[in-house]
């Protein structure tokens, strides 16, 4: 029998004592090797990308990015054990999607249980569809858009976004005179946005109503939106109907 390579674990928590506790609980497990620790969400995104750990202990309430946002940005769906002190919404979602989580403070026995389950899941590299559903499910409308650009993460406040354009498999997000690309479908982001502030005016365009300056008529039966930045966005016939009821 060949020796099984150790599981490589990353610990993400902004509190040193919380990380210390996980290190201590892991001491008894010879098959787990700690490859790194992160203090905040941005660092976690970088380290998950760079180290590709088998297992991530992920705190939910962290500065910069929450645990769920880290998963959204890294696309990681398996080998995650959430830790949280108190978050009613997250816990409800975990229960709903049968995702394992540790409630702080947790016992060694409870920790070992979660670890055993993670090991069993790791053997066949099975992606967890539960996490997909968990991340996609946002209760409140989107307040900021996260974009990963190689090693950098951009956080765009939602009121800075003037329009979103579908370009193949990507979204071009126009904000503050810049354009950011994010791999996402336009229908998906449309669902997450606040319907009173954003409107899908065209098959491939969503505009911010706060940035809308005028509706132009370049031709019979054709409409276009002029945004505050001067940018023009085509409006489809059904988009025009929706816009007329709103404005």
């Amino acid at each position: 029998m060949s020796a099984i390579p150790p599981l490589r674990a990353l610990i993400v928590d902004d509190e040193e004592l919380a990380r210390h506790l996980i290190r201590e609980y892991l001491q008894g497990h010879a098959d787990i090797e700690i490859v790194g620790e992160c203090e905040n969400g941005l660092d976690a995104v970088r380290q998950i990308g760079a180290l590709a750990p088998d297992l991530v202990f992920l705190d939910i309430q962290m500065p910069r990015l929450t645990g769920l946002e880290v998963l959204e940005l890294t696309g990681r769906r398996a080998g995650v054990i959430f830790t949280t002190a108190y978050d009613e919404h997250a816990i409800k979602a975990f229960e709903l999607h049968a995702v394992d989580y540790l409630l702080k403070p947790f016992s060694k026995a409870r920790f070992d249980d979660a670890l055993a389950r993670a090991r069993a899941l790791h053997a066949p590299a099975s992606p967890a569809p539960a996490l997909d559903a968990l991340i996609a499910r946002k209760t409140a409308p989107l307040e900021r858009i996260l974009i990963r650009d190689r090693e950098q993460v951009h956080v765009i406040a939602i009121d800075q976004v003037e329009c979103i354009e579908a370009q193949g498999d990507y979204l071009a997000i126009h904000a503050d005179g810049k354009c950011h690309l994010k791999p996402q479908r336009i229908s998906e982001i449309e669902e997450q946005l606040d319907g009173t502030r954003f409107l899908r005016v065209h098959r491939s365009f969503i505009i911010s109503l706060a940035h809308l300056q005028a509706i132009e008529r370049p031709g019979p039966d054709r409409h276009a939106a002029r945004l505050r930045s001067g940018k023009r966005v085509p409006i489809s016939r059904s988009g025009y109907e929706k816009l007329r009821t709103l404005v």
Binding site: E15, L17, A85, Y86, D87, K104, F106
Partner: protein
């Protein structure tokens, strides 16, 4: 709605009582030989049936004169006048009904009353309405006692809800469970620190519970509470969290609402220190000048962090609480620059009166 009309059972008993009164009147007519039994009953019962509904009006007469603001001459006048009026109507009804008797029974009235008979009948009408007034008065008094008891119970429930709400907002579960997790971690390698942290946590909650009940406390008491809070947070965040508390000696015995400074520090950590790589220092300055207590809290913030929504809610709560207690005499203002967040509170520098 009238309480008797609203309840079918009560109405039934009420009408039965009036029919009994009708039998009483018939018996009186018979005994004084004003009429035969059958005629007396034919006369009295329908009138009493009709009058039972007319007498319900006495409920509103009683209601118009609440027990608490009743003066006896007014009450006597009103009750007597109402009874007199109703007795006149009762007399009219009696005569009208009696003459109707001609139509149904062989061209003669139900009763052939003499004048003294009608006087007696009139007196009975007066007494019956007066009795009805008195009975309704008891009913109204009973109702108002019940309503008062209900109101009191309701206000007790409301007060307790408010208290619970206050405790819930003050005992931040996030803070509690994270602190317990830190203690759990410390027990493994620094039991003495774990013990200190447990004591700080206990002191913080004990003081929160004790102080929250009072309307105003001294700044010194608030600062002691904040020191326990900061001791806990320093264990959690380590070297990231530094504090500089500069409380002027004459400011410590100034009064302010409990939990005014502590939420500001909690915010400063949550939205400031935690978000900044490497942390920073929270500066608290309190001093008295020209009869005003000035408190300023300044903390670093992450430059690229969009202003978080949560910050505003906590501050608005404090602003509302201050407005309730001080009206326009309290001021709270905050401003955010690229790298720091500053809050200033100005209150009248009230001190406890020592007797």
């Amino acid at each position: 709605m009238h309480p008797i009309l609203a309840d079918a059972r009560k109405l039934l008993w009420y009408v039965l009582a009036w029919l009994l009164a009708g039998i009483g009147i018939a018996a009186l007519l018979r005994l004084t030989e004003q009429a035969e039994w059958s005629g007396a009953l034919w006369f009295a019962l329908p009138i009493c049936l009709v009058w039972s509904f007319v007498a319900l009006s006495s409920y509103y007469v009683c209601r118009s004169l609440p027990y608490s603001q009743r003066r006896w001459p007014v009450a006597l006048g009103l009750f007597g006048g109402a009874s007199l009026l109703s007795a006149l109507a009762w007399l009219g009804l009696g005569e009208a009904w009696d003459s109707m008797g001609r139509l149904v029974s062989h061209d003669k009235p139900f009763v052939a009353m003499t004048s003294p008979g009608w006087v007696m009948y009139f007196a009975a009408g007066f007494v019956l309405y007066l009795l009805s007034l008195l009975a309704h008065d008891v009913l109204v008094a009973f109702e108002s006692v019940q309503a008062a008891a209900r109101r009191e119970a309701e206000s007790r429930v409301l007060a307790r809800d408010a208290e619970l709400q206050m405790l819930r907002t003050q005992i931040n579960p996030h803070f509690l469970f994270n602190s317990l997790n830190s203690i759990s971690a410390l027990t493994g390698f620094d039991p003495a620190a774990a013990r200190e942290m447990t004591i700080d946590l206990a002191q913080f909650f004990r003081r929160t519970l004790a102080l929250a009940e009072r309307e105003r406390i001294t700044l010194g008491e608030e600062v002691v509470l904040c020191e326990h809070f900061l001791a806990i947070e320093k264990r959690r965040f380590g070297a990231k969290l530094k504090t500089a508390l500069r409380i002027a000696a004459d400011a410590t015995d100034c009064l302010l609402p409990p939990m005014t400074l502590q939420p500001l520090l909690e915010n400063a950590i949550k939205h400031g220190i935690r978000q900044v790589d490497g942390g920073g220092t929270i500066a608290v300055d309190a001093l008295v000048r020209d009869g005003w207590l000035h408190i300023a809290v300044v903390n670093p913030v992450a430059a690229d962090e969009a202003p978080a929504g949560g910050h505003g809610v906590g501050l608005k709560n404090i602003r509302e609480r201050l407005a309730v207690l001080y009206g326009a005499r309290a001021r709270i203002a905050w401003q955010r620059s690229e790298t720091q967040f500053a809050i200033e509170i100005n209150l009248p520098a009230d001190k406890e009166v020592i007797e």
